[in-house]
């Protein structure tokens, strides 16, 4: 059907990612990558921030809790590159920790019997941002000339280690380098460094030190 998903469009793309271990869950699932801002539902995005335990204020003393909606809207509208990844809702609900495994797998089996028709229909319908669930995100702002900064790159914990994060990072860098911006920086915590390293990032070759403003506003 030609009208559903523009597969050839530069800003939207349908892909498959596969997971290394598979118990009951399907081995590979379709995901939809979009670089359009209009595909972002802010409520869903805010939900993703909390699901991924990701705060917009990097330093813990700056802020806490739920992301401010107005600021999020501004941040997205002022980001030069946004990448969102969607998948079908029933793929996103997966086993999260071992304790719930037996319960949820039995639930899944139950649901399978009862709503198999619904699932089948879901599987057949093409995946689009409006019927998919936001599971991955990343954004960057730049000066359109020399530099860019990547922020808030996150993937739902239950869908990590499937290559989605790497897809997002590669898409962002590809969009930036296509605009001739090669000085691309990403701030990351210690535990995120192996991920960024695998995506082609490294410590600054010029040996610069990352510094952040930590003093509170003087009266």
């Amino acid at each position: 059907m030609g009208f559903a998903v523009c597969v050839g469009n530069a800003s939207m793309e349908l892909r498959w990612v596969r997971r290394s271990k598979c118990d009951d869950a399907p081995r590979s699932i379709p995901i939809f990558i979009s670089t359009l801002k209009k595909d972002i539902n802010l409520e869903e995005l805010r939900h993703l921030y909390s699901r991924c335990d990701h705060s917009c204020d990097r330093l813990s003393k700056n802020g806490s809790g739920i992301v401010d909606m107005k600021k999020l809207r501004t941040a997205i509208s002022r980001s030069d590159v946004v990448v969102s990844v969607f998948c079908k809702p029933h793929h996103a609900v997966l086993v999260e920790d071992a304790e719930e495994e037996t319960l949820s797998s039995s639930l899944r089996k139950q649901n399978k019997d009862e709503s198999s028709l619904g699932d089948m229909f879901q599987d057949v319908l093409p995946l689009t941002p409006s019927n998919g669930q936001l599971v991955g995100f990343g954004r960057a702002y730049s000066d359109y000339g020399l530099t860019a900064s990547i922020h808030d790159l996150m993937v739902l914990p239950s869908l990590q280690r499937m290559g989605i994060g790497k897809l997002i990072a590669n898409r962002i860098t590809r969009l930036l380098t296509s605009r001739d911006i090669y000085d691309i920086a990403a701030l990351c915590f210690e535990h995120e460094r192996p991920f960024f390293k695998a995506c082609g990032f490294a410590d600054d070759r010029m040996g610069s030190t990352t510094m952040m403003f930590t003093k509170s506003l003087e009266a």
Partner: protein, 266 residues
């Protein structure tokens, strides 16, 4: 398949063909044998404009079916186009537009004014000369110009030399003279997403003017303006010799283990 009842009146008769679950709509042939709902009555001669209307209607029709079937699509507020937010933000200037930082009398009787300004025009050639003076590698001028234009904040320092005996009222001759004696001696800029994060790049001061607190003033003003806008994450990447300079301004190296990584093509 859902059927849309077709009205019998001739005015809406052409809407009936949009009920068809066809992907492609060929305007050249209206094959009545393929369609279930086409009324065989009037097909007006102007088929071109009608095709546009029916296509648009059909798209909406499918959208409503899809959203109805799949999930309760509560379309909450999507991202507003930047044009509306721009009006809100740019009404008040972020940095002071222009003011004199320092004024002093030089040995030969001239008065030198150091003027801080933001939002002004920067000559990229002047900037490149300044970058050469501090020993930075050359960067393409078009990229420099674009970077300046699209930075969230750009602050500059100019030095203006005036003869001490100049009259207070500015005649045209004096202004021209001032333009000639206006020299770019410092700059700092910041990029941002206008809400959470900002990065300060390219802080530089002419070596002849260093050590006087000018760089400190530049960065302080930038940081203060950013904090006033509630932008909490201000970061920068400092060369080893200026780490202490920024530490004195309230910056911390690798806070909470946060480091910056850069992309290098393989």
């Amino acid at each position: 398949m859902i059927l849309i009842p077709t009205s019998s009146s001739s005015s809406c008769s052409y809407y009936s063909c949009c009920c068809l679950p066809q992907a492609s709509f060929n305007s050249n042939s209206y094959p009545s044998n393929q369609s279930l709902f086409l009324s065989k009555s009037a097909y007006p001669s102007h088929q071109g404009s009608r095709k546009l209307k029916t296509l648009r209607l059909r798209a909406n029709f499918w959208e409503s079916i899809r959203s109805g079937f799949v999930k309760n699509n509560n379309t909450t507020q999507l991202v507003e186009p930047p044009s509306t937010t721009e009006e809100d933000e740019d009404t008040e200037p972020l940095l002071p537009v222009e003011f004199t930082l320092v004024e002093r009398t030089l040995q030969d009787g001239l008065i030198e004014e150091i003027i801080f300004s933001s939002g002004g025009e920067i000559d990229v050639y002047d900037l490149q000369t300044l970058c050469d003076k501090v020993g930075w590698p050359r960067r393409p001028l078009t990229k420099l110009a674009a970077a300046l234009k699209n930075s969230y904040m750009v602050a500059t320092l100019h030095s203006v030399l005036k003869p001490s005996s100049s009259s207070s009222s500015s005649s045209e001759g004096d202004n021209e003279q001032q333009q000639k004696n206006k020299k770019l001696i410092g700059m700092a800029r910041a990029t941002s997403d206008h809400a959470f994060n900002a990065t300060i790049w390219d802080v530089l001061v002419d070596p002849e003017y260093q050590g006087q607190g000018l760089g400190k003033a530049l960065v302080e003003k930038l940081v203060r303006a950013l904090l006033q806008r509630d932008i909490g994450n201000i970061s920068l990447f400092a060369d080893s010799q200026v780490v202490d300079f920024y530490q004195n301004l309230g910056f911390e190296a690798d806070p909470e283990g946060i480091k910056g990584m850069f992309w290098y093509p393989k």
